[in-house]
């Protein structure tokens, strides 16, 4: 039985010092997992994400991370990630080692990790300084004579957290919208925690097998956590809370404000249910503001072949 609580999944699969990938490119960002990791005071994690986003800004501020592996360190559409910048520029609350790639480089690392390839080739980094800044980016000769090509090493996290719209109890997971590198992150990881907005029956999954990006075989734990990606979003379930992204820009500029925020919104709360209750108390209309509306896919026929 893989269906479990976030508390249990995190304590079981996120040990101190683990290499963690909570992916989801600008969508499906699983803040509910991050808050539980912060609450359980996990330490010395290596945090991998293409876009660290607010989720890793919070985890770095909380002192969970010793290293960051990334390709774009910004608050999308807003500005800087101030907590990560404090760690990188001033070593506050503690020094943060960084390992930097471009988006394509991180894409290649997940592709290689998922496929158990030692490296992935990509035509990038020519005439740029990143390959000097990060010696793990190398160049090899194309054996077919086209010249040099860049390679990046496989990324195989100890645990990947995958937020998705729906999964069944075995962990068969379906996503739509900005699927990013969710599939590859799941296949690349030693352990996988799926966090789903909805737990559906196997028959829902089997009605559309091409939509199943992650098979139960690679999933260790399934957590049912509606609205578990707030202030990020799940396509068709709720909207991105841009007000939160803007508000965080102000909060995160001051270390003390961040500590107070973590105290109030993470440490001081039992779990994500408490977080949602607090959100709704603060803004009763929040889910109307973030309502997704309805636009359904037209069904396709798979046929019955007897």
């Amino acid at each position: 039985m893989k269906l479990t609580s976030m508390k249990d999944a995190v304590s079981r699969y996120v040990p101190d010092g683990a290499v963690v990938a909570i992916e989801g490119f600008t969508a499906f960002i699983c803040f509910s997992a991050a808050h539980e990791i912060i609450r359980q005071k996990k330490r010395d994690l290596t945090l991998c994400r293409m876009t660290p986003d607010l989720i890793y800004d919070q985890m770095v501020a909380a002192g969970c991370a010793q290293k960051l592996v990334f390709s774009y360190m910004g608050n999308p559409g807003v500005g800087s990630l101030h907590c990560i910048r404090r760690a990188v520029e001033k070593g506050i609350p503690q020094p943060l080692e960084i390992e930097e790639y471009s988006h394509f480089g991180m894409v290649g690392r997940y592709l290689a990790g998922a496929a158990k390839l030692p490296f992935y080739p990509l035509r990038s980094y020519y005439g740029a300084d990143l390959a000097q800044a990060n010696p793990r980016i190398k160049f090899i000769q194309d054996p077919y004579g086209s010249g040099q090509i860049a390679v990046v090493p496989a990324l195989n996290p100890d645990v990947a957290v995958i937020h998705a719209q729906r999964a069944d109890e075995q962990g068969n997971t379906q996503l739509w919208g900005l699927v990013g590198m969710q599939k590859e992150a799941a296949f690349s990881a030693r352990h996988v925690i799926v966090v789903a907005e909805e737990i559906v029956g196997e028959e829902v999954i089997r009605s559309d097998p091409n939509r199943t990006l992650i098979p139960h075989m690679v999933v260790d734990a399934v957590v049912h956590q509606p609205k578990g990606a707030h202030p990020s979003y799940a396509q068709g379930y709720y909207d991105r809370d841009n007000q939160f992204y803007l508000a965080w820009d102000a909060v995160s500029r001051e270390e003390q404000q961040v500590e107070a925020w973590l105290e109030e919104w993470v440490y001081g709360l039992e779990d994500w249910a408490a977080y949602l209750a607090k959100l709704e108390a603060q803004e009763p209309g929040i889910w109307e503001r973030l309502a997704a509306g309805e636009a359904y896919s037209q069904p396709v026929n798979y046929g019955v072949y007897r």
Partner: protein, 259 residues
């Protein structure tokens, strides 16, 4: 129908199914292996998931699939993916525990030829070629072979190595080349079953089917055959195994040879 009368295909399928005891992910083709895997799901490996190289995981076929591309493998499956995902993430990704292969030629170390009889450039007989066999032989944790026993198949030297088995028999031969899978574990034929010796990696007789003698088997194998110390008689299909095959898995007897 008398339950202790069965075809050699039924025996081969039952023996193959039992080899899947406790397995969870098997890479399967059509024909006997397909029936063996479905038999295993109903007996010794209830959690077994079938993976087809056409891109299907967790198939629930409503009929007996006639090819790995049968649409009945898609409808109601758990997941259907591209060939890229299948070969990259499932097979090379090391997710396949067991796989079935056949071949036109097999040597004593379980290396397989399904490419040509004769010279590659000027073949006497042009066979289908690798398909996914070469990668399956390299990446599956265990490989099972199902084939009729015949001197034309069990040869001293392959005309072409399509899929690597235990290579030249050096215990570390596969790992030295960076081959992650464990290679061939079992050979099921119509006359006897074989395993591979831990040290020599040589294919050795492990069980004779009821009524078959060592000499009859040796007569169909091109190299001097060794046996395991405790040579057994193959356990025939049980009443329940036969019932499942005949009533549920292959009622028309297409692959169980009762047609």
């Amino acid at each position: 129908m008398v339950m202790n009368d069965y075809t050699s295909s039924e025996l081969m399928i039952a023996a193959s199914a039992r080899a899947l005891q406790g397995e969870r992910v098997v890479f399967v083709g059509v024909g006997m292996p397909n029936i063996a895997c479905n038999l295993a799901r109903r007996t010794v490996a209830p959690d077994l998931e079938l993976v087809y190289e056409s891109g299907v995981f967790g198939a629930r076929p409503a009929r007996l699939p006639l090819s790995i591309g049968d649409p009945t493998l898609v409808s109601g499956a758990t997941s259907v993916c591209s060939m890229a995902d299948l070969f990259m993430n499932y097979l090379q990704g090391g997710r396949i525990e067991a796989a079935f292969l056949g071949a036109a030629q097999i040597d004593r170390f379980g290396n397989l030829n399904s490419t040509v009889i004769g010279e590659y450039a000027h073949p006497k007989v042009r066979l289908p070629g690798s398909g996914g066999a070469c990668e399956i032989a390299i990446h599956a944790k265990k490989v099972f072979l199902i084939t009729p026993l015949s001197k034309r198949t069990f040869v001293e030297k392959l005309d072409f190595v399509t899929s690597p088995g235990h290579l030249d028999g050096r215990p570390d031969g596969r790992s030295r080349l960076g081959i992650p899978g464990g290679g061939p574990q079992l050979v099921v034929t119509n006359k006897a079953n074989f395993v591979f010796d831990q040290e020599s990696k040589e294919m050795v007789l492990s069980s004779l089917h009821p009524g078959v003698t060592f000499e009859e088997v040796q007569a169909e194998v091109s190299w001097p055959l060794k046996s395991v110390s405790a040579l057994e008689e193959t356990v025939p299909p049980t009443t329940e195994e036969l019932r499942l095959m005949r009533e549920e898995l292959d009622p028309d007897g297409i692959y169980t040879g009762r047609k």
